[in-house]
């Protein structure tokens, strides 16, 4: 709660700066237009014009707010013009991709921790895999999956999984290895099996790491879903809105979609944060 005032202050400053930047960045166009029309324009005349441009370089905050409001609340949520509808399209791919990515990430991490050959061989390649520009291979993934008859939600989800598995692997490997030597030795004195060690020590010990990487992972999954929407022919979803927006130069639409995506990401991260708090409190790891 004590974060509210600072956040509002920071937001107010950002909005003020944003307005200033909007004037500054949108002004050249008005000046050019005036020059083309052969007239002179004063700053006072120019100021209101920069707030209401059709294709602003930087839309003013209220323009974005109106765009957001119309997209989110101004339509039936089943309408194709509703950001809720597009948000849901993206969200469903995000959630599926996140589920796939997390499962894969956790399984890989378990393998890496328990098998030395996997540890040595998989990790460097997992890092390398993340340096591949996803936008470049996304179309190929879609085409390849298409050719084996998979289309619809799944290809997008797989791209989203590709982006989200990595933080989960890294975090979980760290987490599953986080028990210290003494905690492990204790179980050795009980002659505990590998399975018992996993369930009673490694897994509970990895929980804080798991949740941290889940937070990173779900944000990555959302980006993946948006990227995955571009090569599916941009049919629906926030990615499609972004793309169509830039194709037709509808700056406000881009910004509205962008903010919706960021809100969605923030909400998902907050959700995981809530689950984390409840779980860790249950486990007695939060105080």
């Amino acid at each position: 709660m004590k974060a509210v005032v600072p956040i509002l202050t920071v937001l107010a400053v950002i909005v003020a700066l944003w307005y200033a930047a909007a004037v500054w960045m949108n002004a050249p166009w008005e000046r050019d237009q005036a020059a083309r029309a052969g007239t002179a324009i004063t700053f006072a005349q120019l100021l209101p014009l920069t707030m209401v441009q059709e294709r602003p370089v930087l839309p003013a905050p209220h323009q974005v707010a109106v765009g957001l409001w119309e997209g989110l609340a101004g339509q039936a949520i089943t309408s194709k013009r509703s950001l809720v509808y597009h948000g849901w399209v993206t969200l469903s791919a995000t959630l599926l991709g996140f589920a796939i990515g997390t499962t894969a990430g956790v399984l890989l991490a378990v393998g890496i921790v328990h098998n030395r050959a996997m540890d040595l061989s998989v990790m460097p390649w997992a890092i390398a895999s993340q340096t591949i520009p996803i936008l470049a291979i996304a179309p190929m993934i879609i085409v390849v999956l298409n050719s084996v008859g998979v289309s619809g939600l799944l290809p997008k989800a797989i791209i989203s999984a590709y982006l989200s598995f990595f933080p989960v692997v890294v975090g979980m490997v760290k987490g599953l290895r986080s028990p210290d030597a003494m905690q492990l030795d204790l179980l050795r004195t009980y002659n505990a099996s590998r399975a018992a060690t996993f369930w009673k020590l490694r897994l509970p010990a990895s929980m804080p790491y798991l949740f941290t990487s889940l937070k990173v992972g779900i944000a990555a999954a959302l980006v993946g879903a948006i990227v995955g929407e571009l090569p599916t022919g941009a049919v629906a979803g926030l990615g499609a809105r972004l793309l169509q927006g830039s194709y037709y130069g509808q700056t406000v639409q881009i910004w509205a979609a962008l903010f919706t995506a960021a809100f969605a990401a923030a909400a998902l991260v907050a959700l995981i944060g809530a689950v984390q708090r409840v779980t860790l409190r249950r486990m007695g790891m939060a105080r």
Binding site: I7, I14, R116, W125, I132, P133, A136, V144, A262, A266
Partner: protein
């Protein structure tokens, strides 16, 4: 079919070899530790080649590694040109500016808990803005040459580094700070002699994450407008021309450059944070 059988046979054999290697005493040598991932990588390539040939996948969908290698060999000058444009001009300059700015801002807001509480949540929100949405805007703002790519990279690397640095600056222990208090050390002395060194492991965490982000950011930004060179440009145009071997050649360069960049930062980290337990096993 033969190819498929060969590919999976090779897979099984290489895996068995790796399992033995990993358990052997060779693992104490540097060469031994490099051998295992190398064998794994070679296995991936062999399986890829085998599957592509075995299933007769058309080259315009997925070219075999041999074709990609041939293309790399044939196109070194182009690949180099693209590498300089995207990596050196776009990614590297953006990385340096973004990381530098993030560290400075972190130090600035570190003095004010008020700013920290206000800025970090907003910062996290901004960090969640998808790059595919930001890139076209930044291309519109900064032009189509490398400046806009650098700007995209700055936006992408800024917050991971900021968040990590802020966490790092808070990482010195109470007792270590109290020690400084008993010396009645000034803010800058404390920052310089205690908090920055203590923050280094965190800062490097951010810097490592930022390496892969920087490269991806620079490449992706080129999809939204670029001069007619650069890795992203080449990838998007060659996809349209069905030059998939060239696309994969660029991807290979990207993966190599990205891994090398990551490795370099990890190496510097090892030098700077030699004292941290995670570096000493």
């Amino acid at each position: 079919m033969i190819w498929l059988v060969f590919a999976f046979g090779f897979w099984a054999a290489a895996w068995a070899l790796n399992v033995r290697l990993a358990a052997s005493s060779l693992m104490r040598s540097r060469a031994g530790r490099l051998a295992v991932p190398a064998i794994f990588g070679i296995t991936l390539l062999v399986v890829w080649e085998g599957v592509v040939r075995g299933l007769a996948v058309p080259g315009v969908i997925l070219p075999p590694p041999t074709a990609i290698a041939a293309r790399i060999a044939a196109e070194v000058p182009t690949l180099w040109l693209d590498f300089v444009q995207t990596f050196v001009k776009g990614a590297l300059s953006g990385y340096i500016m973004g990381c530098g700015a993030a560290v400075l801002v972190a130090i600035a807001i570190d003095r004010s808990p008020f700013l920290q509480r206000g800025l970090l949540p907003v910062g996290n929100f901004v960090a969640a803005l998808p790059i595919v949405g930001i890139a076209p805007i930044l291309v519109m703002w900064f032009g189509f040459d490398w400046h806009s790519k650098a700007a995209v990279v700055v936006v992408m690397v800024f917050f991971p580094v900021l968040v990590n640095t802020v966490a790092g600056l808070a990482a010195s222990e109470v007792m270590q700070r109290d020690l400084m208090a008993t010396y009645s050390a000034s803010y800058w002395q404390t920052l310089w002699k205690l908090r920055l060194p203590a923050a280094m492991p965190f800062i490097f965490n951010g810097l490592k994450i930022a390496t892969t982000l920087a490269l991806i950011g620079a490449i992706v930004a080129e999809f939204f407008g670029s001069p007619i060179r650069g890795m992203g440009f080449r990838i998007s145009t060659e996809v349209g021309r069905l030059g998939l071997d060239m696309v994969w050649a660029e991807i290979t360069v990207a993966a190599l450059a990205g891994s090398a960049f990551y490795g370099l930062v990890a190496l510097i980290e090892r030098g700077v944070t030699f004292w941290h337990p995670s570096q000493r096993h």
